[in-house]
Symmetry: C2
Subunit: 338 residues, 2 copies
């Protein structure tokens, strides 16, 4: 973060034709993005692209989701056909959608918009052993970095996280508990909407996984390998890739927030590139956002994933920067300051 | 509101490729807009236009704002030049901005984008007598209806409220107290950012105005004339005009919310067309939104006005409708339902 750009942005906000501080959290955000870019005003965060990382989860065998595992691959096809919620929202805000198969259990046919980088056909059951090998987690993370680099090389100036993976909120809860030391009951939510019995079972699954692996937050790759998912590892890499290029990355919900904890543990400065798109109803999301020190932009009881919350937040991020770039000053507009 | 369209929208949400209810408040919003339009899915709320109604306030003489009154006219010029915050945000989201001089004290030179409909050169001091005559309030309201009709005739399918008027949060506080019976101390905020002394004086000004006029909420035109502003009356008409044409109208902050209470008192069904863009930090805004039964979409500590909060909310409203229009169903996409 460039302190001179931060100071320049703060000072500029005081000269724009509006009462000082009247744009609240959006002023803070635009100042952060100036600090990230190292220049005031920062570049407009567009064009933008959502990367939907898809993976499957062996813990699905523990009956933590009412959805069959094949829905992951079916939804990948839906994303590629443009029929999912994130596609509709991305069309509204002018963002591209790319889908990355980083660990889907079923074979996903190649097609336009698909990045085929399957590391393994889903993780193993984290209640029985590690979800994956360290090498798998590292490979998935490298893929995330590569996707970020490719999207930036293609001209994108804002990246958005998306995810698809039946049962992936269970892995997210375990990651958040591991990184924040929160109790499983505090971080384990109802995902896509499960009943009380399944919710109790899911909490116990997270508790057993932590007891089995004793994940060490000082070893983030080890945590990802033990209780994470392939899309979580890829998302952590995606965030690190964006941060290394000083491009803002808008986090979606609980999957992204849990991956962000891994990215932060690996490279604390990477948080400077992260923008919290929204506050998911998943309880772990709020705990992770607190640990990241990020304030969410949208708070509308969403619990879909896919990148939907990040996509909704994109125009807010762009507007925050646009104000700093385009609004007249008191001097230039001939408006009397108070 | 059309109950068949509401039911059709609720039923459709259950068939779209997402967990039921997973879009939270956006699902409720899209269902409301189907009910408003009388058809499912409802039309996409675009193109959209922000109407910024500008007026001055005689109560400015009571020193309730640190800004000189001429700033109202200076900011009108800034809007017309495209240099204000609402202009930058409207460019981001593809909305037009029109500026309506409904009661600015200074002469505003005609120019592109200006609708010149000055009813009177600002209100009178509401602590000394009525802010305006009933005929003035009615005329301003008619202008608001006319502006809504003209924007809809020009093809707009979503209207957004904007406002400009130094000291207009004082009139808003008085309106909200009059319509909700809330105490002046509960509804009177710091506007653009005033110190403790000025805030105390502002509360007393609102209290004296209510004691002087004893405004009767059963006579909304009388309330507007006694303690309102010309832009408040015009905004109430603008909302009624949108509602009559079944076009959604996104409310900005406390000025719009106070005007919405007048619109609701005149025509309770008009609330069906209103979408709460954001929750302003002005305490009266939350009280008014509660009275209207509306949940705000954006909550980022904004206190600017101009239509900025409504403009930020526009893509959220558009995305909510777009989901209902464009997302594939489980059947059509070949995705297994749970």
């Amino acid at each position: 973060v460039d302190p001179a750009a931060v100071r320049a942005a703060q000072e500029r906000h005081g000269r724009l034709t509006k009462p000082p501080g009247s744009l609240g959290a959006l002023e803070d955000l635009s100042v952060r993005l100036a600090g990230l870019a190292g220049v005031c005003p920062p570049p407009l965060p567009e064009p933008a692209a959502v990367a939907v990382f898809a993976g499957d989860h062996g813990v699905h065998a523990q009956r933590v989701s009412p959805w069959p595992q094949e829905v992951t691959a079916q939804m990948v096809a839906n994303f590629l056909a443009g029929g999912a919620v994130v596609n509709a929202m991305a069309r509204q805000v002018g963002a591209d959608v790319v889908v990355v198969d980083v660990g889907v259990a079923a074979e996903v046919p190649a097609g336009p918009g698909l990045v085929s980088r399957n590391v393994r056909r889903g993780t193993a059951d984290l209640t029985a052993g590690p979800a994956m090998a360290r090498a798998d987690a590292l490979r998935a993370m490298e893929i995330g970095i590569e996707v970020a680099n490719d999207l930036i090389a293609a001209g994108n100036r804002c990246l958005l996280t998306g995810d698809m993976g039946i049962a992936n909120t269970t892995a997210s809860a375990a990651l958040i508990a591991a990184f924040t030391h929160a109790d499983p009951v505090a971080v384990t939510g109802r995902g896509t909407g499960i009943d009380d019995d399944m919710h109790r079972r899911k909490i116990e699954v997270v508790r057993r996984a932590l007891a089995l692996h004793l994940p060490d937050p000082a070893d983030p790759i080890g945590v990802l390998a033990a209780v994470g998912g392939l899309e979580h590892a890829a998302l952590a890499g995606f965030m690190l890739g964006a941060a290394a290029r000083k491009v803002p990355v808008i986090l979606d919900g609980v999957i992204a927030c849990s991956a962000a904890l891994a990215a932060k543990a690996l490279a604390p400065d990477s948080v400077a590139a992260m923008v919290a798109g929204h506050r998911s109803v998943e309880p772990g999301a709020a705990i992770a956002l607190d640990a990241l020190g990020l304030r969410p932009l949208v708070d509308l009881d969403l619990r879909l994933g896919e990148g939907s919350g990040a996509t909704l937040a994109l125009p807010l991020v762009q507007s925050a920067v646009r104000v700093l770039r385009e609004v007249a000053t008191f001097d230039s507009a001939g408006v009397t300051d108070q």
